[in-house]
């Protein structure tokens, strides 16, 4: 068994994506929540309340820094200024984990504030690996790479997504962040079995699991098109896919993401409590 402490020190408990409006609730009673994740880019200002809150939270909770703007899959070089800001944040906070996405968001100096898709080709593989090596060398730590939500496919792709991620991890030594909602969304949108994806996925390299809500739309042919919106509760089939995954992976740090139409704290904490019971079921199995 691989030593996961090379890429994560998060506890095997539920965490939530931190929202500033929950600060007082979290400090007074975090309930089932054992750790917090923040988006790196929201803490790259010079000072003020965001950094003061982060300093306070980091004294009480293990923290995960989750980047959304590095553009790991970008065709151009990584943004040096942004890398320097990331290093400053990670050196200062010393989080239990740093993760980013298999995606791109910057082209020709413009940042599009979305996780844009990549063709799974040898050229993409070489570029993503080079960028991850650069990030890991700079930060002096291993990172986790998250699987995306897919709405379409590239005709030019020659790798399946689990194989592609496995190869990236093998070449760079990074760990993986498995978003089971993204798996469910992509599987629905691109007609594959989500359980089959999990079966093909290198679960021994997973350092963290993400759960989130999605919206439903449809494509030109009336087929369902799910959209990874992080704006509502996790749906039952995704909880079931989490159970399927945990039965095969054993307990892992679980994160509930709710970034839009953010609910009150009790609602978010209930989602974390549901994640806690999923973990408890696996622990019972392990103990048997």
């Amino acid at each position: 068994m691989l030593d996961k402490s090379t890429f994560t020190h998060l506890p095997q408990t539920p965490g939530v994506g931190y929202k500033p409006q929950h600060f007082n609730d979290i400090i007074s009673d975090p309930g089932s929540v054992g750790w917090l994740e923040v988006h790196a880019e929201n803490y790259m200002g010079d000072g003020g309340r965001p950094l003061a809150q982060l300093r306070h939270l980091a004294e009480e909770f293990p923290m995960s820094v989750h980047g959304v703007g590095l553009s790991i899959g970008g065709e151009g070089p990584l943004d040096g200024d942004h890398l320097a800001r990331l290093k400053h944040l990670v050196d200062w906070l010393n989080p239990a984990s740093f993760s980013e996405h298999l995606a791109w968001s910057t082209h020709d100096s413009a940042f599009y504030n979305d996780l844009l898709p990549l063709p799974y080709t040898d050229a993409t593989l070489a570029r993503v690996c080079a960028h991850i090596n650069q990030v890991q060398d700079l930060l002096g730590r291993k990172m986790l790479l998250e699987n995306p939500s897919s709405y379409l496919a590239f005709a030019e792709s020659t790798w399946s997504e689990p194989e592609f991620l496995n190869e990236v991890a093998r070449r760079t030594g990074c760990g993986l962040l498995l978003d089971v909602n993204n798996v469910f969304v992509s599987a629905t949108n691109l007609d594959f079995s989500p359980q089959g994806y999990i079966d093909a996925y290198p679960l021994d390299l997973v350092g963290e699991i993400h759960l989130g809500g999605h919206d439903e739309d449809h494509d030109d042919h009336g087929k369902p098109l799910l959209i990874d919106s992080h704006g509502r509760a996790v749906v039952d089939p995704v909880w079931a896919l989490l159970d399927y995954t945990l039965e095969r992976s054993g307990p892992l740090p679980l994160l509930v993401e709710w970034d839009n139409d953010v609910p009150d704290w009790p609602t978010l904490e209930r989602e974390a409590a549901r994640a806690a019971s999923a973990l408890d079921r696996v622990l019972v199995e392990v103990a048997k």
Partner: protein, 259 residues
Amino acid sequence: MTTDTSPANAVNQAAFTRAMMDASITTPQGLRDSQNRPAGRRFNVYRNNVAVSLTDALLQAFPVVTKLLSEENMKGLAGIFLRAHPPQSPLMMFYGAEFPDFIAQMEQLSHLGYLADVARLEQHMRRAYHAADATPIDPDALGSIAPEDLMQTRVSFTPAMQVIRSPWPIFDIWRFNMEQDAPKPQAGAQDVLITRPEFDPTPQLLPVGGAAWITALTGGKTIGEAFEVANQDADNFDLSTTLALLLQGNTLTALHRKD
């Protein structure tokens, strides 16, 4: 999904972004659904995500401009702006720095002369929110300086302090849209001081000459030299009121007395 690596199916990021930011451009042909049909509507998810997330960022950054224009008009304006000025960094907290100038140059908005300066005020509020922390001086420290020495003293300010001058009543407009029971704006120029006593930026109306005085101080002039500048700017410059605003707002970080 069948792999087809013919060159026509290669989708580079330049082609992807061009089509993403301009709905009149056809979706790149290498993008497909699971049955190898053209991606069609599926590509619109990205078009929509980018436009909505950047529009939301602008609405959040400029709440008063949004109220003044109506949300519908602001969304329309944001749609034009985000295509002309996509973010140049992943720090969305600073997105929209060019928005005030963009407004000033929009002919269709020229009848709302004050709008660009209101946007500037909101932009400075955001900068103040994220500015570096600094330790303010003890207000009593000023009292220990003899009046004649005080005029030869220089001061340093917190990075959060901002001053905006406008020929429009931007403070009254801001307050009228943000606070209940605020008085209706009256015509006239207003200068605004933004302080951040702890974490929340606070705009305050400066007395006449106050902006000229503070700007001279930030430029390195002594309190006395800056007083001359302020008196040239306005007839009735009120130094003690302006100084009290600076002290109450925790804006002074150091006094540099004459050696």
